[in-house]
């Protein structure tokens, strides 16, 4: 599936929830259920420091696609990471570079991607794009 198709699918899933509680419970469950990152990558070099919660990101190139793994010490942050990984992992670098994260607004989680939120997510997306740019440069 393309990034846009996955985003549409996520918007559909979230549209079934009636209120914030169901949305958040779903995210919390996503956060809990996903084995997100290999422990060996939970190091200082992979850490993105938000003031409030920490995020670790690791990327690998598999054929022509980038695979991301990530983790956080806060569970709601981890839930959003799970969604972002679903969108961006296993995609070609050039598709990641041109994609956006507007769907987060449509599923009612916009506030978590605010630059002032200090939860590491904004930096995480920046990092995902940086990895994609780096891999794209290698491919060129």
């Amino acid at each position: 599936m393309t990034i846009a198709e996955i985003q549409e699918e996520i918007i559909d899933e979230f549209s079934m929830f009636d209120d914030w509680e169901e949305r958040y419970q779903y995210m919390i469950d996503l956060g809990k259920s996903l084995p997100l990152i290999d422990e060996q990558y939970k190091t200082e070099d992979h850490i993105i420091k938000g003031c409030q919660s920490k995020v670790w990101v690791h990327a690998e190139m598999d054929n022509d696609k980038v695979e991301f793994t990530a983790d956080s010490d806060a569970i709601i942050t981890k839930g959003i990471i799970a969604i972002l990984i679903r969108v961006f992992s296993n995609q070609r670098p050039k598709d990641i570079i041109k994609s956006n994260t507007d769907f987060i607004d449509q599923i009612g989680l916009k506030e978590h991607l605010s630059p002032t939120r200090a939860n590491g997510l904004v930096s995480m997306i920046k990092q995902i794009k940086m990895y994609a740019i780096a891999y794209q440069t290698q491919l060129n």
Binding site: E21, Q52, S53, A74, I75, I76, T77
Partner: protein, 412 residues
């Protein structure tokens, strides 16, 4: 300018009517504001003074011959007198209006650059906020002086025996907050000032967290410097006070150069203005200063004894209610503490709890509260901090407790 804060008997329902923001909703729920230690809300009486200033008096002060300038100057200087009386300073010129606590601290730290040398020591406490650590580290870097830290115990109280041991003839300055922002501990400043004076050291007290709860008496405390911020005590942001004993303020060099702080200027030499203008370079936050005076009036009309007694009641009630939640741990259990509760729930990140509480319309602070050394001491990434003011209620605390239970259920 009108300023009526008439609350002869403490009645929280009537006090709440003074705060328009308490009527708003957040995420579809009535706002419950428990982030008072970060900034307090503003009563209508202070808002009116701000509107009145810009509607009727706005002008630059201290130099205009015209009526508006004169009136604005009178209002500004009248605010200084209100603040002077509030802290019981001996002279009005010992009250410097600053942009806030951090400004006051930096002004003193900068001034001590000329007074310290290698081998001198500056003492701070383990309970400090980052803005209370960094200026002293910078001062020590500039002068070669050494920074010493008074440790704390597991309850979040300073260990006074260790403080005694740190004090020596090398100690030139002691800096401690009256109340810790992260834990709410009230430090025994009177005793600490006396001991510092016995070795000839000066003392700067950070009153940012205590000014909304305790009326300071700088003469009775015999403190050398005292700083606080208006926005913690119902005033606007961007204005604060620095009190200094006249002799000390005379000894410190000016912090910033500019208009207002000068006496005579030629390209060869400048002579500085006298106190307090020596430390008030440039056009000040005129409206902020006037509104600060109104905030002081407002709080004094309610009365600090009544405020502090009521807040203590809220603290005891919240502590008891929150303690019933299984897995909840309170950090900072000092014998003497103010209406701040820092807590965590086993296995749950404070950020997650804060996020759920926000969805319920409850504003708390989460994180390390700009006091990383305190979090390191407890080996935690941060806490959830609920801080109460005199306009909060027990019913709001009940909602908080229900909210925390709900967050725990969702997140466990």
């Amino acid at each position: 300018m009108k300023n009526t804060g008439d609350h002869t008997t403490f009645n929280v329902d009537s006090i709440r009517k003074d705060f328009p923001i308490l009527n708003r909703e957040v995420n579809g729920k009535p706002l419950i504001y428990f982030d008072n230690a970060a900034t307090s809300q503003t009563p209508q009486q202070v808002i009116d003074v701000i509107v009145d200033y810009y509607s009727n008096y706005n002008a630059n002060i201290h130099r205009g011959v015209h009526t508006l300038s004169q009136e604005a100057t009178d209002l500004y200087e009248d605010a200084r007198l209100k603040i002077q009386r509030h802290i019981n300073a001996k002279h009005s010129y010992e009250t410097i209006l600053t942009s806030g606590t951090t400004h006051g601290i930096n002004l003193v730290a900068n001034g001590f650059t000329t007074l310290l040398k290698k081998g001198d020591e500056v003492i701070v406490s383990a309970l400090e906020h980052h803005s209370n650590i960094v200026p002293w580290q910078m001062l020590c870097e500039r002068t070669g002086a050494t920074l010493k830290v008074i440790p704390m115990n597991a309850k979040g109280e300073l260990i006074l025996n260790d403080y005694d041991a740190l004090l020596s003839e090398n100690t030139k300055l002691v800096f401690v907050n009256h109340i810790s922002n992260a834990l709410g501990t009230i430090n025994p400043i009177a005793q600490m000032i006396e001991k510092a004076h016995q070795v000839g050291a000066a003392v700067l007290i950070d009153g940012a967290q205590s000014c909304p709860h305790i009326k300071p008496d700088v003469q009775a405390l015999d403190v050398d410097f005292y700083v606080a911020s208006a926005h913690k005590m119902c005033g606007p942001t961007g204005v604060g006070l620095l009190y200094g004993k006249e002799a000390w303020l005379e000894k410190l060099p000016p912090y910033q150069g500019g208009g207002e702080m000068i006496d005579q200027v030629t390209f060869e030499e400048t002579t500085y203005a006298g106190l307090p203008h020596k430390f008030e370079a440039g056009t000040p936050n005129i409206c902020g200063g006037i509104a600060f005076g109104a905030a002081v009036d407002y709080m004094n009309a309610i009365g600090f004894d009544a405020i502090s007694a009521y807040e203590h009641e809220l603290l005891d009630y919240a502590t008891e209610q929150l303690t019933h939640i299984e897995g909840l741990k309170i950090y900072g259990t000092a014998e003497e503490k103010t209406s701040v509760i820092s807590f965590n729930i086993d296995g749950i990140h404070p950020y997650d709890i804060g996020t759920i509480l926000d969805k319920l319309g409850i504003a708390v602070r989460t994180g390390h509260h700009c006091a990383q050394p305190i979090m390191d001491f407890f080996k935690i990434p941060g806490t959830v901090r609920a801080s109460f003011a005199f306009y909060n209620t027990k019913a709001e605390i009940d909602t908080l407790v229900e909210g925390v239970k709900k967050a725990k259920m969702m997140l466990s």
